[in-house]
């Protein structure tokens, strides 16, 4: 059972049925009848749009008509639909069977049809009231059928809103009485159940009951859901919900719980008792219970993984193969000069006189099985200037300092003065020669870190005068008169929230609250393109490590992949429940990671646009992501002050680094991946030992299969150093090619 799918298909089907029935003259009921089918869960779970369902719908309508003594309409409908008088009774008996038959559908086998059928049959007036009918009515798109609504709700929900606290209490008592080992797992049910029941009440305009329900039970929930509960408490009317997309999505998507089989059996047995049927229906409708075989999890294990808005990731959501290896570096002939005498020669060629080949990636000629094909996604070919850059890169890399627990990097901090809390984004070029800052006054400023000043290219007339054949033509094209330490780029009409340099240092991207992403040329320091697509603030943007592609993510919960020469996005990554706050490319440019305010991190495949990993565990919106240089691991930091380490290949959490006390806005791995640096709003930079953290991980088959791992509480041992700044929150970190750590932040006295 997939959580959210193409509900559109259903809606179309339902629309047809709607119009059909309207034409039958029973204009009143066009709303409710169609809905029992698919929109009972808000239209979000897959529904077999087969004739069986249509039949059920028709019969439901007939029942309703009969109840209200609209006999003529009954006749007309029956005649037109070709039903016989006997057909009416069958759904009733079927419902009883389907009701219990639908029960085992929840779970790993995902029997959508059955559960749906049970819901449909429940919708017929005869069956005991459940949440289906009221939602049926309410979810009919807000059409004004007040009399129908009133009738149906009055009928089917007699006492229902009042009963909700009783149901909840009953469940609570049961779970408290259960064995310890199961209790932790079953307690997971509380939060989603509470939220869904509350939203149900609100959606059906039972404001007072909703408030009472909230007051009574909100205190029981886990502490890390506090923010959500606060938002919920502000929504007491249906209209409030309409404005809040996140809550609407929450209501229509299924919250995923992972429960061991034993605990699940317990729960099921209890809820299938007669008096608990309602809760069972609610659970079936809103929760997706992913069952695994094995030991029930402990509270700490559950706590580590939970916290997101949609529950945890389903087991099969994280099963797709992810090519996390790196792409092969192309072979480049390196001209030898004297400086490289002591450089290592990995190919083992004895003679130094021969030009060395770039041996960074060519250790083995075989394709790394975990690496994607070179041509999996089209990548721009290397230009001559890129090759020169790479050679420069290699030369610098030979001077790289080896970091380790006993050899910590030096940290050079760039403080932005007089920013008045307006610094919203920072980026460094890869060779650390330029810094760009995005500000809340909608400007982008670029500074040169090296003594070399920033120059503009000459105008066309002047360019025609220079000698094109001279060796230093690249210097001559620059206009000396425009040399300055910094340049200001104007163009955005809102605060600039994301900045990214292109790897070849020609372009700069900036994303802003005005919904556009702008591409600036660093040769002329003017704006080249404005990419419009998000109509809402774009919180982050990033260039691909190979250039040409870039991603942006914003308030509209969608991340888009663009290429610089297309004015429309190439890929759209939709699936998050709340804003996307952080976007990052994988080093091999085939995958994109997005962190969101719904507290999950999703990994997307650039080729297909599918979500290949859902990683949960953070308890607050995620603000920083980092991939290790070998592409295998990922680190993420959020407002809860924890850094979580993930194994990308398996989709598992492999480490948790506690220590920061405030939001972590910057994360960076060192050039060889030995050290992870994290910078936070608590004015500190912390260094963590990643070699140790990843060494300790044992991933045997069991953990890979079930997906829960026991995290060692070793944050203290992994912490290599804490460096305080003078009231300057750290918002960006960057390791130079020689493994010097650069940090940036705005001085905030």
């Amino acid at each position: 059972m997939a959580a959210v799918q193409d509900g559109q298909l259903n809606l179309e089907v339902e629309k047809d049925i709607k119009t059909e029935i309207t034409n039958d003259g029973s204009g009143n009921i066009n709303a409710n009848s169609s809905s029992p089918g698919s929109t009972s869960s808000g239209g979000k779970s897959k529904s077999p749009a087969g004739s069986g369902e249509d039949q059920q719908t028709l019969l439901a309508v007939l029942q309703f008509l009969k109840r209200n003594k609209l006999t003529e309409s009954v006749d007309i409908l029956r005649r037109e639909a070709g039903l016989s008088a006997d057909a009416d009774d069958s759904p009733v008996s079927e419902s009883a069977g389907a009701g219990s038959g639908g029960v085992p559908s929840v779970g790993a086998d995902g029997g959508d049809a059955n559960s749906l059928l049970s819901r449909v049959s429940i919708a017929t007036p005869v069956a005991p009231p459940a949440t289906a009918p009221p939602k049926v009515v309410a979810a009919s798109g807000g059409e004004d059928q007040p009399d129908v609504n009133v009738v149906l709700s009055a009928y089917s929900q007699q006492g229902d809103p009042v009963l909700y606290p009783l149901y909840y209490n009953g469940l609570k008592k049961f779970i408290e009485s259960v064995l310890d080992c199961h209790r932790a797992e079953l307690s997971q049910v509380f939060y989603p159940l509470f939220v869904h029941m509350y939203l149900e009440l609100v959606y059906n305009n039972h404001e007072n009951e909703a408030k009472q329900f909230f007051e009574k039970f909100s205190g029981d929930q886990e502490c890390y859901y506090e923010e959500d509960l606060r938002i919920l408490s502000s929504m007491s009317k249906k209209e409030h919900m309409k404005g809040n997309e996140t809550m609407l999505d929450f209501r229509t998507s299924k919250f995923v719980l992972r429960i061991s089989r034993d605990s699940y059996q317990l729960l099921k047995r209890h809820l299938q008792e007669r008096q608990n049927n309602q809760i069972w229906n609610i659970i079936q409708e809103h929760l997706y219970i992913d069952i695994f075989d094995g030991m029930p999890r402990s509270k700490s294990q559950i706590d580590a993984m939970s916290g997101s808005l949609a529950g945890e990731g389903k087991r099969d959501a994280n099963k797709a193969k992810v090519f996390y290896g790196l792409l092969k570096e192309p072979e480049i002939e390196v001209p030898l000069d004297d400086e490289d005498e002591e450089a290592e020669n990995e190919e083992g060629k004895p003679k130094k006189k021969k030009p060395k080949k770039d041996s960074m990636g060519s250790k083995s000629k075989k394709q790394d099985p975990n690496a994607p094909q070179q041509t999996r996604i089209p990548l721009p070919e290397l230009k001559d200037s890129d090759k020169l850059d790479k050679i420069m890169n290699m030369k610098e890399a030979t001077k790289k300092i080896r970091l380790g627990p006993d050899n910590l990097p030096s940290i050079c901090f760039y403080s932005f003065l007089n920013a008045y809390q307006g610094l919203t984004a920072v980026d460094f070029t890869d060779d650390s020669s330029l810094i760009a800052g995005g500000f809340a006054d909608s400007t982008v400023r670029v500074w040169s870190v090296t003594p070399k000043k920033l120059r503009r290219v000459k105008s066309a007339a002047d360019l025609s005068n220079i000698d094109k054949e001279s060796d230093d033509v690249l210097e001559r094209i620059m206009d000396e008169k425009t040399a300055s330490e910094s340049k200001i780029l104007y163009g955005h009409s809102g605060p600039v929230y994301g900045i990214s340099f292109s790897p070849d240092r020609n372009y700069l991207l900036s994303s802003s609250e005005d919904g556009t992403v702008r591409l600036w040329s660093l040769q002329t320091f003017t704006c080249l393109v404005g990419y419009k697509g998000h109509n809402y603030p774009v919180w982050d943007t990033q260039f691909s490590p190979y250039g040409y592609y870039f991603i942006s993510g914003g308030h509209d919960r969608v991340a888009r992949l663009w290429a610089t020469d297309h004015y429309q996005p190439l890929r759209m990554f939709a699936g998050h429940l709340a804003d996307i706050t952080c976007t990052l490319f994988h080093p091999n440019s085939n995958y994109v990671a997005t962190g969101s305010a719904d507290r999950t991190i999703r990994l997307w495949d650039v080729l297909t646009g599918n979500c290949v990993r859902i990683l949960t565990g953070h308890k607050g919106p995620i603000h920083s992501l980092a991939f290790s240089p070998n592409g295998k691991f990922m680190a993420s930091g959020a407002t809860d002050g924890r850094v979580l380490l993930w194994d990308v290949g398996h989709g598992l959490m492999v480490g948790e680094l506690k220590g920061h006390t405030d939001t972590i806005y910057a994360l960076k791995f060192s050039r060889d991946g030995e050290i992870l640096a994290s910078g936070s709003m608590d004015n500190t930079v912390k260094l963590w030992d990643t070699l140790k953290a990843f060494d300790d991980v044992e991933l045997d088959d069991f953990t890979a299969a079930t997906g829960h791992i026991h995290l060692p509480e070793n944050s203290q041992e992994l912490l290599l150093g804490t460096y305080m700044t003078k009231s300057t929150p750290v918002i960006h970190l960057h390791f130079t090619r020689r493994n010097l750590l650069l940090a940036a932040g705005a001085y905030n006295p």
Binding site: Q8, Q523, F573
Partner: protein, 254 residues
């Protein structure tokens, strides 16, 4: 969280107006504990403006429906229309999923090699000039030896010291009275003898007004391989008769 302390000075109740007290309470209920004192004023202003707008709109709807009093339906309608207009929210998730599914079906386009800076077609870029140069040729009917100096006076062009060339003009359309050549690099106004044939430039006969389309090779923009082309790439003699009705804007000679 309360331990962190607030920046708000809780004035004694008799000096803080009731609205402000309510706003302070709202902020507290929503869990916001630290805020600058002016935030309350901003929130109150917003509230006042919003409520006034809604009520005014509702009044309009009520009069339109020929009702004497404004009732709840009017308010509801006013709120609804204001929500759709100003406070829009992002599209719902199923819609996004559907759109994404369609978009993701198309394969990634192949990348053409050796194309210089990879930018979208010119009309989607911001590289075109957002101004037009006008120049008036005075007494141009006589021809040959005359040097006419057009003054190109346009507000935006005055940025001579900067080089808007690469950033801005990729297509420049210049209306000239006579095809005087001007260097459209934007920084200097070079004077050229109208009837002379300067190399690589096109001059038209004095009598014919010309519209020139000057194209600067887009590959000039932002790449190290700058092709130095002269800015007069082509001259569009064909459209000469269509334009050039603006006799009135006479600009002085430089």
């Amino acid at each position: 969280m309360r331990g962190k302390g607030t920046n708000v000075k809780m004035a004694t109740p008799k000096t803080v107006p009731k609205d402000a007290q309510v706003m302070i309470q709202i902020l507290k209920d929503m869990g916001i504990t630290e805020y600058e004192p002016r935030v309350i004023n901003q929130m109150l202003e917003f509230t006042y403006r919003y409520v006034t707008t809604i009520i005014e709109d509702a009044k309009i709807y009520a009069t339109h429906a020929k009702k004497n009093n404004v009732d709840a339906d009017d308010i509801r309608l006013a709120i609804q229309s204001r929500m759709d207009q100003s406070f829009t929210s992002p599209p719902p998730r199923d819609f996004l999923l559907e759109v994404a599914r369609q978009k993701n079906q198309t394969p990634l386009p192949l990348i053409k090699p050796y194309t210089g800076p990879r930018l979208p077609p010119d009309r989607y870029c911001l590289t075109a000039p957002n101004y037009r140069l006008k120049s008036i040729q005075k007494k141009m009917s006589s021809s040959a030896g005359r040097i006419t100096v057009p003054r190109l006076s346009v507000a935006a062009v005055s940025s001579r010291s900067s080089t808007p060339t690469f950033g801005t003009p990729s297509v420049q359309s210049v209306t000239t009275k006579v095809g005087t050549q001007m260097s459209l690099s934007g920084q200097r106004f070079t004077v050229q003898i109208p009837s002379s044939q300067t190399a690589a430039s096109k001059s038209s006969t004095p009598s014919t007004p010309t519209v020139q389309n000057v194209l600067i090779n887009p590959s000039l923009i932002g790449s190290k391989n700058i092709l130095i082309t002269t800015n007069m790439v082509s001259q569009n003699l064909a459209s000469e008769s269509l334009k050039r009705k603006h006799e009135d804007d006479d600009y002085d000679a430089l």
